[in-house]
């Protein structure tokens, strides 16, 4: 089902990747687990706007971002704590701190909303970065779909070493063992407080990068570029972003 057109793509895009993008756009617009479709679409709009925010630019340039005071320039009516999360994640994620995250959550943004906001924002960033890289303008964000969030928190999620609760390997249900169970890397359980968000983001991951199974296979060539070339691009982007993980 096409909800966002890629007809103007300057090059042919492989079908599985196009379909993954459509599913991602659909997910962004639909009611989530804790957030309505309208809020999720607003997050997408706000993350896209973050690079035009003067306050963000000032903090990015500062040696100590937490000493800079001011207010974000926004394009939505998302609450301030959520805007702070979205804008910092988009413009200066390398310098985020546990205490900062805790402060946002203590100010009224729930842990679940925090995680779902991260998921939606990062999905949008991924889709927009692809468009930018391949030479397309950002896609029109689809209209929000009505409906109520499910508000189901996984009973097995608990506080571990991350800043928010997640599903630890030993706690994964039988149905989720392949996704969050033993042997699964920490990054794949990062969003597991909101399992639908984790599954959705890594659905996109399968087409833009590799599936969990493909990642373990260093001999099969799954893409037009080699595994070494894939990891080189991935590594350089992560170094530029100063992401230690």
């Amino acid at each position: 089902m096409t909800i966002v057109s890629y007809d103007d793509a300057p090059v042919p895009i492989r079908q599985d990747l196009l379909e993954a993008h459509q599913r991602s756009w659909q997910r962004i617009a639909a009611p989530g687990t804790w957030l309505t479709g309208a809020t999720r679409v607003a997050i997408a709009r706000e993350v896209r706007h973050a690079h035009q925010c003067g306050f963000c630019a000032e903090r990015k340039a500062a040696l100590m971002p937490y000493s800079v005071t001011g207010s974000h320039e926004t394009v939505t009516d998302i609450p301030a704590a959520q805007v702070e999360l979205i804008h910092r994640l988009a413009t200066d994620s390398a310098r985020l701190k546990r205490s900062w995250a805790r402060e946002l959550i203590d100010s009224g943004l729930s842990e679940e909303e925090y995680v779902e906001t991260v998921g939606v924002a990062c999905t949008t960033i991924s889709l927009d970065t692809f468009a930018h890289a391949v030479g397309m303008s950002p896609r029109d964000i689809p209209a929000a779909v009505d409906g109520a969030p499910t508000k189901i928190r996984p009973s097995e999620a608990r506080q571990g070493d991350a800043w928010v609760p997640w599903i630890a390997p030993e706690d994964a249900s039988e149905a989720d063992r392949a996704i969050f169970g033993p042997g699964i890397s920490n990054i794949r359980r990062a969003l597991s407080l909101v399992p639908a968000e984790a599954r959705g983001f890594f659905d996109l991951n399968t087409s833009q990068y590799l599936s969990a199974e493909q990642m373990k296979d260093f001999t099969t060539r799954f893409r037009a570029i080699t595994r070494a070339q894939i990891e080189l691009v991935a590594g350089r982007i992560s170094a530029i972003n100063q992401c230690a993980y």
Binding site: L89, A94, V118, C122, I125, V134, L232, I237, A239, Y245
Partner: protein
């Protein structure tokens, strides 16, 4: 942003590093040229694959940083030497995870 030099022994590595840097940067002319070079060298399919990887890691990095994802225990020992050599252990995100 850090320094990248050469191709790391990977075919067309320097070109792909340049492309990744162009995607992450603000210079639209540099990106346009880098894209053309990748297309000419690796073909359209190679370009799309490289774009997909860059896009995904530009996002996944931010998940790791905003959730405070710690490096997996099984990777700590095998990566200790080059994390230190490359300065990764000094990244703010490493200190906070």
């Amino acid at each position: 942003m850090g320094e990248a030099d050469g191709d790391g022994g990977i075919p067309n590595g320097a070109m792909l590093v340049n492309f990744a840097e162009a995607i992450a940067g603000d210079d639209v002319d540099r990106l346009k040229e880098a894209r053309a070079e990748v297309t000419q060298t690796l073909g359209v399919d190679g370009l799309v694959d490289a774009c997909g990887v860059a896009a995904q890691f530009n996002a996944i990095d931010r998940i790791a940083d905003s959730i405070g994802v710690p490096i997996d225990d099984v990777r700590l020992a095998p990566t200790a030497d080059f994390r230190q050599a490359l300065g990764i252990d000094a990244f703010p995100s490493r200190l906070e995870s």
